[in-house]
C-alpha cells in the first residue's frame, strides 16, 4: 500500500493489479463477466462515496450502490466535462501525474489526474502485447519505431508515456522515438524507417495517425517506397482534426501498405483517449480470421447504446459508445466519449465523433469554432 493511501482504494487496486498481472495470451484472455461485474460494482460504490459531484449526479438519476445491480447501470460521465471538472477519489495533494488532451489552451484541455501510474502501466502492457505483438514468442523483442514525441519531451502526453512504458519492455535496442514535439520532420521519419528496413528485421511502427499521413505524403512526393521486413506491423491512433489533412482510415491504411509494404491485415488502429486508462485495439493480428473489430483488456468494457433510451443497441446498429474502464480507479470508471460506434461480435467498431449534426446545415457546434473540440 502506498504511504497515506486510502485503504479501500488500495484493496481495489490490489484486486485489479492481480487481474492485470495474470497470464494473458491472444488465444486465451478470458473476459470473466462475473469478476468484471463484481469489481465494477465495488469500484462504483467507492467512487460514489468519494467523489461528491459524481454522487450527486448519480443520485439525480436514482442510481446508487443500492440500486445499481450490474456494471451496465453505472452512470457514465461525458469526457468533455473533464475539461472543467476534476472528478477524482483522492485529494489534490496526492496527484502524482496529469495527462492532458491535445489542445492549445489549458482551459479547454481534458485531463486524467492520477495518484499512481501503477494501474495505468499494468493495464497497457498486456493489452498492447496481446493485440499488437500477438505473434511474438514470450520474451521476444521487436524493433519499435515510435512516430510520436518522447515522454521526456511531452510529459503530459498519455500516448508518449504509453510508448515510453512499452519500449523498454518489448523494444530492441535500436528502437526509439522518431518525432520531435510540435513538429513533424518527414525527412527524419523517412530516414529512420529506411534504416529499419535496411536492417531487414521485422519492425513495429507505432504512432499518431497524422504522423503517418505526413510520412506517406512525404514518401509519395518523392516517389519512394520503403519495404519493411515481412512480419512488420503498424499501430496508429488518434484523429486528424486540425492536423495536416483529413484522411479516411481506409485510405490511410491503404497508403501505409503501399508506402511501407505492411499489409492492411497487419495494421492496427488503437482506440484510446487521455481520459481513459485502458486502450482498445483492432483485432487483425490477434484474430486474423475474424471480422476486424476492437477489443480491450478484460477489465475494460464498451457498450454501444441508444442515446435516447440508454438501452444496448442491437448488433450492427449505430449507437453511442460508453466505456467502463476499471483501470480508471482514481477517477470515474464509466465514461461517455464523443464517439459513436456499433457492436461487431464480441467487440465494436468506432464510426466517428458524435458531431454529425453540423453536416446537414450551415450551422456548427460552437465547440468547434472555439477550438475546444480536440
Amino acid at each position: 500500500m502506498r504511504p497515506g493511501s486510502d485503504p479501500a482504494r488500495a484493496r481495489l487496486d490490489a484486486k485489479l493489479l492481480e487481474w492485470m498481472r495474470e497470464p494473458a495470451s491472444p488465444e486465451c484472455w478470458p473476459q470473466d463477466e462475473a469478476r468484471f461485474d463484481g469489481l465494477a460494482l465495488e469500484l462504483f460504490a467507492f467512487q460514489f462515496e468519494r467523489i461528491a459531484a459524481y454522487r450527486s449526479f448519480c443520485e439525480g438519476r436514482g442510481r446508487t450502490p443500492r440500486t445499481v445491480t450490474t456494471w451496465r447501470e453505472i452512470p457514465a460521465v461525458p469526457t468533455a466535462v473533464l475539461k472543467e471538472l476534476s472528478l477524482r477519489s483522492f485529494d489534490a495533494g496526492r496527484i502524482a501525474h496529469v495527462f492532458r488532451t491535445s489542445g492549445t489552451s489549458a482551459a479547454v484541455r481534458g485531463a486524467l489526474e492520477l495518484d499512481t501510474l501503477e494501474l495505468y502501466e499494468a493495464s497497457l502492457e498486456p493489452t498492447f502485447r496481446v493485440h499488437v505483438l500477438a505473434d511474438l514468442a514470450p520474451g521476444e523483442r521487436i524493433e519499435m519505431r515510435i512516430l510520436a514525441p518522447s515522454a521526456a519531451a511531452v510529459p503530459d502526453s498519455s500516448l508518449s508515456h504509453m510508448f515510453a512504458t512499452l519500449l523498454p519492455r518489448f523494444g530492441t535496442r535500436e528502437s526509439g522515438f522518431d518525432l520531435a514535439p510540435d513538429t513533424v520532420d518527414p525527412e527524419a521519419l523517412v530516414a529512420s524507417l529506411r534504416g529499419a528496413a535496411e536492417r531487414g528485421r521485422r519492425v513495429a511502427v507505432c504512432g499518431t495517425a497524422f504522423a503517418f499521413v505526413h510520412l506517406v505524403d512525404s514518401l509519395a512526393a518523392r516517389g519512394e517506397r520503403i519495404v519493411l521486413a515481412e512480419g512488420s506491423r503498424v499501430m496508429e491512433t488518434g484523429g486528424f482534426k486540425g492536423r495536416s489533412r483529413e484522411v479516411g482510415r481506409g485510405e490511410l491504411h491503404a497508403a501505409i501498405e503501399h508506402c511501407l509494404g505492411v499489409p492492411v491485415s497487419r495494421i492496427v488502429n488503437q482506440y484510446g483517449m487521455t481520459e481513459l486508462a485502458s486502450q482498445f485495439y483492432d483485432t487483425p493480428l490477434r484474430f486474423p480470421e475474424g471480422p476486424r473489430r476492437k477489443l480491450g483488456p478484460p477489465w475494460a468494457r464498451v457498450r454501444v447504446v441508444d442515446p435516447v433510451t440508454g438501452d444496448d443497441a442491437r448488433e450492427g446498429e449505430h449507437g453511442m459508445i460508453v466505456v467502463v474502464d476499471l483501470a480508471n480507479a482514481g477517477g470515474v470508471c464509466a465514461l461517455l466519449p464523443a464517439d459513436v460506434g456499433r457492436r461487431v461480435g464480441d467487440g465494436f467498431e468506432v464510426l466517428g465523433r458524435a458531431e454529425g449534426a453540423e453536416a446537414r446545415g450551415c450551422s456548427i457546434a460552437a465547440d468547434e469554432i472555439l477550438g475546444g473540440g480536440a
Binding site: A52, F57, V308, R360, S363
Partner: protein
C-alpha cells in the same frame, strides 16, 4: 460518358447559353427570374408542391416545418425584391451609379460554378439566381443533403422560359474525386458553401485571378434585454426565438444556438425566467412544427451535452436545465460559449451589461451571422451596434431570423456585386 467529360460538356453548353443570356437585357433577366421566385413562393403552385414533397423525402425535415420554413423565408422573395436588389447594386442597364451618369459597369462572369451545401433549400435558390441576374450561367453541384432543390429550380425555370433554363446545368459527382472537383472548379467564378475545412481546402484550389465566394459555417444568437421582463413581453419574445430555433431544426446559419440575457446584477435569475419561457415555447411549437429526423451522432451529442449540464450542476455550478422529448434549454452560469449539439438545443447565458455582452460574443464574432434582439427599448440601436461590430451581418427581431430579405448581405457581402466584375468608367 465519363463524369469528367460530362462536366466539361455541361460547361461547353453553358458557354453558349451564357452568350445568349447576356444578349438579354437586365430587365428581361429580372422578369424571368422574378417569375421563377413567384412560382417557388406560391404555396398553391404545382412546382412548390413538388418541391416540398422532394424535400420531405431527402432532407429529414418534417413536412410542416418545411412548409412553414419556405413560407416564411420566401414571403418577401418576390419579383419586386429582386428588382430592388438589382437597382441597389447594379443600377439600370447594368450600370451602377446614377442613371444619368453611370460610373461603373457591372457584369457577370462567363460561367459561375456553384458548389451547394447543407440541407436548407432557400440558400440554394439565391445561389442559383444571383449569377443569372448578372448574365452568368451556372454549373451547380447539389448538396448531398438536398439533392432536389437545384433540380426544382431548373425545372421551374424551364417551365417559364426554356431558353433561359439552358443557363443552368446540374452535375452530380463525388467531391472527393480530385479530378472531377478540379474540372468543376475550372470557372472564372466559384461559389461554395461548406464546412470551414471544406472551404479551406477549396480555397487552395481556386486561387487568383479567379473569384472565390465562400460561405463557411456561421452561427446565430439571440440577445434579450431587461425591458423584456418589465413589459410583459417575455412570452412573445420567447415564442419568436422558439420559432427561430424550431424552423429548420436549428441547422441553418440563421438558427440561434444561444441566447444572451442582459439583465444587470440579477442576470442569473432573469436568465432562468427566460430559459423557462423558452422551454415552454419550444414545448408549444413542437405540436405545430415537429422536429424532424435526428441522426444518431446528433442524438449522442445531445445526450452527452445534457449529461454534461447535469454533472456541472451536481458539482455545484449554477446551471439549470429544461428538457423536453425534442428540445433542451440549458441556463448556463456564465457567458462562456459552449458546444451546441443543434436540433433544438439552446443555451441561455446571463450577461450583466452591454460591455459584458461585447466580451461574451467576441469569440463568436468571426462566425456570427444573424442576431435577434429584443427588450432593449431605446438602447436597441446601441446593442445592434455592438453585435454588428462584433461581426454579425444581420440584426432582426425574434421570430424573423429565418426570413432574411433577398438583399441580405450574407456574410457581409453584396449579394450581386460579390459575384460580378465591376469596371469603372472615368
Amino acid at each position: 460518358m465519363s463524369p469528367e467529360r460530362e462536366i466539361c460538356e455541361a460547361r461547353a453548353r453553358l458557354l453558349a447559353a451564357g452568350a445568349a443570356l447576356r444578349m438579354r437585357s437586365l430587365e428581361d433577366r429580372l422578369r424571368v427570374l422574378g417569375a421563377l421566385l413567384e412560382a417557388l413562393r406560391d404555396p398553391g403552385a404545382a412546382i412548390r408542391s413538388e418541391w416540398e414533397t422532394a424535400l420531405a423525402g431527402t432532407t429529414g425535415f418534417d413536412a410542416a416545418n418545411l412548409r412553414s420554413g419556405l413560407d416564411l423565408a420566401l414571403a418577401s422573395w418576390d419579383s419586386a425584391a429582386l428588382e430592388a436588389l438589382a437597382a441597389r447594386e447594379i443600377g439600370p442597364a447594368g450600370f451602377a451609379g446614377a442613371p444619368k451618369a453611370p460610373t461603373s459597369r457591372v457584369s457577370g462572369f462567363e460561367t459561375t460554378s456553384v458548389l451547394l451545401g447543407g440541407a436548407l433549400p432557400t440558400p440554394t435558390v439565391s445561389a442559383l439566381v444571383f449569377p443569372l441576374v448578372l448574365g452568368s450561367p451556372v454549373l451547380a453541384r447539389p448538396s448531398r443533403h438536398d439533392p432536389q432543390t437545384a433540380r426544382i429550380v431548373e425545372r421551374a425555370l424551364d417551365a417559364i422560359d426554356p431558353a433561359f433554363a439552358k443557363a443552368i446545368e446540374i452535375v452530380d459527382f463525388d467531391v472527393r474525386d480530385e479530378v472531377l472537383l478540379r474540372a468543376f472548379l475550372d470557372a472564372p467564378c466559384v461559389v461554395a458553401t461548406g464546412s470551414d475545412a471544406t472551404i479551406a481546402s477549396l480555397a487552395a484550389k481556386v486561387g487568383p485571378p479567379r473569384r472565390f465566394v465562400a460561405h463557411a459555417h456561421r452561427i446565430s444568437i439571440g440577445v434579450v434585454g431587461p425591458e423584456a421582463f418589465r413589459r410583459g413581453s417575455l412570452g412573445e419574445i420567447a415564442r419568436g426565438l422558439a420559432l427561430d430555433v424550431a424552423l429548420w431544426d436549428q441547422l441553418g446559419c440563421l438558427s440561434p444556438l444561444a441566447v444572451f440575457v442582459v439583465a444587470g446584477t440579477n442576470a442569473v435569475a432573469t436568465a432562468d425566467d427566460f430559459a423557462r419561457a423558452l422551454d415552454e415555447a419550444l414545448h408549444e411549437i413542437e405540436r405545430e412544427l415537429p422536429r424532424g429526423c435526428v441522426p444518431i451522432e446528433a442524438e449522442a451529442a445531445i445526450a452527452r451535452a445534457r449529461s454534461d449540464a447535469e454533472l456541472r450542476k451536481a458539482a455545484g455550478l449554477d446551471v439549470s436545465s429544461h428538457a423536453g422529448a425534442t428540445h433542451t434549454v440549458v441556463r448556463e452560469a456564465d457567458s462562456r460559449p459552449r458546444e451546441a449539439p443543434l436540433h433544438r438545443f439552446v443555451r441561455v447565458h446571463p450577461v450583466r451589461d452591454e460591455a459584458a455582452l461585447r466580451d461574451a460574443i467576441a469569440p463568436l464574432g468571426p462566425h456570427l451571422a444573424g442576431v435577434a434582439i429584443a427588450g432593449f427599448g431605446v438602447l436597441r440601436e446601441a446593442v445592434a451596434g455592438i453585435v454588428l461590430d462584433a461581426g454579425a451581418s444581420r440584426v432582426c427581431a425574434p421570430g424573423r431570423l429565418q426570413a432574411p430579405p433577398l438583399a441580405w448581405h450574407h456574410d457581409g457581402r453584396a449579394p450581386l456585386l460579390s459575384l460580378a466584375r465591376v469596371g469603372d468608367l472615368e
